[in-house]
């Protein structure tokens, strides 16, 4: 049978399977039902091949190769059997012997999940496992170096995605650590507190600092998908809601979400507190005869607003009205408001403060 252009066949644990030429082996295997564990791999980042959890046997190679950095080609013969399971268990044991604090902030810890799956335990703790604690005066993100496995996903995220200098992989040998550049506070680096490093961390070493009394493991939260209200990009977010209090505890996003691919900015990730603020308007208000604002229904409020606009239009003409749209509206909402301006109000004086 003729092969489709750009598609190759390779052998995965004895079965012949097809994949686009050049696809990363870890992805191709997953599509064919073979899950290969990874820790340092992140689809957003260039292949790194550091943690070695994903090594697989490849025919013709004297040593196993990392599936996260090996690309599929015609005739590749891959095995995840033989000694690969043993390597996974041993490498997990290794990572555990310096993993002093597996749960600094309630975020998921993929290393612990693997330890459970592979039956790996730390045979001892390294005497030099303890790293210098990092205490930052910023109010949003915490970092416990004792939960870090040096996969450098966070550092690579800052360099490859954010193009910033917030984090560094510092030093060499047992002293090597990941730290905001020069060990400064994040507030004194180029960091914009987007929290992308946090979202990329597989062990929860970087975590959200919670409001007093709201700490809760991420697994105990309910996710509500919505659109961020902060700007017109329309980032898709998951509000993580505490089922007991019905309050938002944190905001996350998923790499599969468009248009932001799981990336967020400081506002989208951290500035959700307004939702629960007592001053927040939850009902439309209309000013009464007494000069005070009174809660009312949307129908009534819109009638009052429409009536006012119509009155101005009749008395002074449609060119007397200009429309100023908020920068926090989405593109779709901006479209609707210009439609309203041009067809109902009949003015072309429309502006958004995003333009300034």
């Amino acid at each position: 049978m003729e092969r489709m252009p750009g598609v190759v066949e390779f052998t995965l644990d004895g079965k012949t399977v097809a994949a686009p030429e050049g696809e990363l082996l870890v992805h191709a295997a997953a599509r064919h039902g073979v899950f290969i564990p990874t820790l340092c791999h992140d689809d957003k980042l260039d292949p790194y091949g550091g943690c070695r959890m994903c090594v697989v046997g490849v025919e013709g190679s004297p040593r196993p190769l990392p599936a996260c950095a090996t690309r599929v080609r015609q005739g590749l013969v891959v095995s995840t059997n033989s000694n690969v399971p043993q390597f996974r268990r041993t490498l997990t044991e290794m990572l555990l012997v310096e993993h002093l604090n597996p749960d600094p902030g309630g975020r998921p810890n993929e290393l612990l999940d693997m330890a459970e799956e592979f039956g790996a335990e730390a045979p001892f703790m390294l005497p030099d496992a303890k790293r210098e604690p990092y205490d930052d005066r910023n109010k949003l993100m915490g970092y416990d170096p004792d939960a870090c496995i040096l996969c450098a996903r966070c550092v690579r995220y800052t360099q490859e995605v954010m193009q910033c200098s917030a984090l560094s992989l510092e030093g060499r040998g047992p002293d090597a650590r990941i730290v905001p550049t020069h060990g400064f506070s994040w507030l004194d680096t180029e960091c914009e507190l987007c929290g992308g490093c946090l979202s990329s961390c597989p062990t929860g070493a970087i975590y959200e600092k919670f409001e007093e009394g709201t700490e809760r493991p991420e697994s105990g939260l309910e996710k509500v998908k919505t659109t961020c209200t902060y700007c017109g990009v329309g980032c898709q977010v998951d509000l993580n809601v505490d089922p007991a209090t019905k309050r938002i505890v944190k905001v996350t996003s998923d790499p599969t979400y468009l248009p932001n691919e799981g990336n967020l900015c400081v506002k989208g990730r951290f500035a959700f507190n307004f939702v629960h603020h007592p001053d927040r308007l939850t009902d439309p208000l209309v000013r009464g005869e007494d000069g005070e604002l009174h809660p009312t229904t949307w129908e009534h409020a819109l009638q009052v607003a429409a009536g006012g606009l119509n009155q101005v239009k009749e008395e002074h003409g449609s060119q007397s009205i200009g429309v100023l749209a908020s920068a926090r509206l989405t593109m779709e909402e901006n479209f609707l408001i210009q439609k309203l301006a041009r067809t109902a109000i009949e003015t072309n004086s429309i502006h958004s403060c995003e333009a300034t």
């Binding site: 041993t90 290794m94 045979p123 001892f124 390294l126 550092v155 910033c164």
Partner: protein, 516 residues
Amino acid sequence: MLEELPTERTRLLDNLGRVRREVGPITPELSDAVADRMNIRRGEVHEVVSFYSFLQVPTDAVRVCIGPVCDCLGARNLLAREHERADGAPVIPVECLGHCDIAPVLMRGDRVEPGVTRRTNQGSVLGLHEPDSTEYAAFRDLPASEEIVAELKASGLAGYGGAGFPTGVKWEALAGEPTPRYVIVNADEGEPGTIKDRYVMELRPHLMLEGMLIAMRFAEAREGFIYLREEYATARARLLRALAELRETGLLEDRTIELVIGAGAYICGEETAMLESMEGRRGMPRLKPPFPSQVGYLGRPTLINNVETLAHIPAILARGGEWYAGLGANGATGVRLWSLSGAVREPGCYEAPNGSTLRELIDGYAGGASEEIGAIVPGGAASGILPPDALDVPLTRDTLREWEAGVGSAGVQVFPKRYSPLRLLAETMRFFAEESCQKCTPCRIGNRGMHHLVEELGHGRAVMPRRQAEEWLDAMVQTSICGLGQGAPFPMRNAFRYWPELFAPLGDPEAAAPSG
């Protein structure tokens, strides 16, 4: 001064070295200033600065070698004495300074103490006793490329840096690759016990430069680089002078040869880590394949050879590969420089046949053992640790395979009986842990774990069962990215085999590991 710094990323290490020499140790402020000048992100420059041992210490620091031979001969006392002396300059312990022939040794700034004495022999190939000359006879009379490859293959020459890859095959692999190509000399000698490249560069730099020039013409490379470790101050001065002399001969034509100075990182002797270092990044090895002959410096095909390897090539081309091959002993081909140090009467660096036995080397060149021999490291930290039983084994790749050891860089370190193999092993594993770049798990943690295991054994405690320790070693050999992690387990495995009584607390090697 900042305005004078070139802004190409490849100049980063050079710039940092210059700032350190002319301004002082690289502080966060200086690091950021260099980053801003070169338009590199500040965090990345900090990553590079902190990767190397020397950029954050002043140039007048006292560097005390704690390599295994120095450790055996009293380095810890020397370190303590220097700490007491403390006249303002910081005192730091460093891994092998490459002066094992005068151990224990330290460097006060660029000055080596005690003073350098070089013991060597004339030999039949390198002639380290001869005056260096700019004759370049082999280069002036160079045969066609195919013939060069044929002679190199016939000579049996294999890289003397430690990996032992056949040089002819390496050169041939470059032939089909597109130009431009680069040639790099690996002069980052840092393998404990190994001093041979320093001898070549200090005594016969033109021999190496001639080999390099031949490599450059073969590779049609316009640009060549010599990556020299920072600690070799004398070699640096000799090379700079030799380069000036070479320029005067006109043989360079439109080619350039540049000296790149390291900043204290053993791993930069690994060829892909070296490329990263030269490109202004942390010296962390790349994933292979691709190999440097396809994707090397700045992504171009690159020929990388060790100093000594290149120094042999003029003689091979002048007198023929077969002649060279015939110089070997016990079935091996050619000769090499053996660094002999430790418990021998005349430590030094001697040209002797490949395939020589340890006894021939120790008695025939180094004046015999100075004490009863307890253990021998045949060729650098990862080459293994052999018992005195191995004294009459010819040192070839094949014979040593049976001993689960290697010839490596031929840095033969002889340890007296009073120096415990456990101490030697602990120092060796500590060395690997310190010098690990920290990129891959098996090397980063495996070496620290093995160091911990050996240290605890010294107190009679077992941190994990023998079988599990062997699983760790296997994972290190099989899944580490580069030769550091892949090679580090060999001394451990040797010690298990040759000194089993030391490991009795770990239990039966056949018993299943708890996780298994």
